[in-house]
Symmetry: C2
Subunit: 229 residues, 2 copies
Amino acid sequence: MSELKVQHILTLAELFTKGARYNFIPITTSSLGKSIRKSQQAASKHLLELEANGYIERLRTGQKVSVRITTKGHSEMTKIFSILKSSLEVSPSSIEFRGVIMSGMGEGAYYMAMKGYTKQFKAKLGYVPFPGTLNVKLKDKEFVEAKRSLEGYPAVMVNGFSDGKRTYGWVKCYPCKVNNLVDASLILLERTHHDDSIIELISKDNIKKATKLSTGSQIYIRVPIKSTN
Amino acid sequence: MSELKVQHILTLAELFTKGARYNFIPITTSSLGKSIRKSQQAASKHLLELEANGYIERLRTGQKVSVRITTKGHSEMTKIFSILKSSLEVSPSSIEFRGVIMSGMGEGAYYMAMKGYTKQFKAKLGYVPFPGTLNVKLKDKEFVEAKRSLEGYPAVMVNGFSDGKRTYGWVKCYPCKVNNLVDASLILLERTHHDDSIIELISKDNIKKATKLSTGSQIYIRVPIKSTN
DNA sequence: ATTACTATCTCACGAGTAC
DNA sequence: TGTACTCGTGAGATAGTAA
């Protein structure tokens, strides 16, 4: 079989760029070396090896050498390309969390029921949340990290407000799916007293009831991410 | 800057495939090693180096290790991908010839005017060729090679026939552009007495007149190729 | 100016193994 | 089971140079 060596990938790509797929293209090893950021000698060796393995054909007319890519070279390149393509396309593009439902209703419960927030929830999420928030204790370090990385992604922004006595901070809402079943929103509060390993959820419905889960149950949350490509 | 090493490309691709773009994915170095057809030790080193260069983040929770690809890792991968993509897309997808117009009308001239051929030319090319063929002496070895490779590509097939006395071979026609100006067809004859370095052209019009060229002039022929992707 | 040889160096990899 | 060290080997790269 003799697979294409990885260090030859960029060299072959350079030859494609130079148009060597269908026609013999004159090329010097020193210019090729510059293109692939290697020495002239390395470029020369690459060409010799690519030829030996049937990825290119070479033609010498006195001093000058011309190179053409073979069908084998083309298909091998296409193969590499599609490996990369499919690997980059694997993006269910969501951030996932696993944790355990905590007792009580969550610190945010009281605040989230305030008119200054509920009006915005109705307008921006399309519903007034079921009273009370669901607190989830994240299971592992990686999910705490995932929570931090969430902040880098677009969210539904619910602005803070003032009731004359005090001000209330903003709330970022990340629409999510709980246990692949119930639509909810993971909320990040501007001001929170939680430690990092706890997240809060709001939903149109009673999440515990809808998922038939109770305090201490394992829970799985998936936040879809808008691809930034 | 510290560029992504080529030998890390497939490793990073594998991590993408495993879904490590947005979430920390648990992975063992031995399974990764198998995936990239390298040893466990090599996989371990790849992860360490990818981390050192900021392409991935790692998280250890006791024994197990989780990996996530960083934005830098993502963009670097995208960069490699687009290099390959654009290099593969460089396909004016044509085979080119350069040569010199020869004197006389070419060996094929007499035959190409026979009814058995002209009927097919009219049907398949849409015209009856201008009487006489144009012979071109190819300038260089690479063009002789290009002529050979032409045979691998689809052509308009004009079948051979018999007039009772003798049989006449098939003619393969490759529609082409002469000097980026005149439409013609490069013809390959089943039976020819030419040496390899000569090609013949037919056209609806008088090529010499249309291109204002004469015997001894340099001529440039481009045969478009139907992409086989 | 070329290409490509030889010698040398570096570093990628795998074997063995500690933890 | 795991990860990741050290070390030996050899592939890949460069320098020097012949043709």
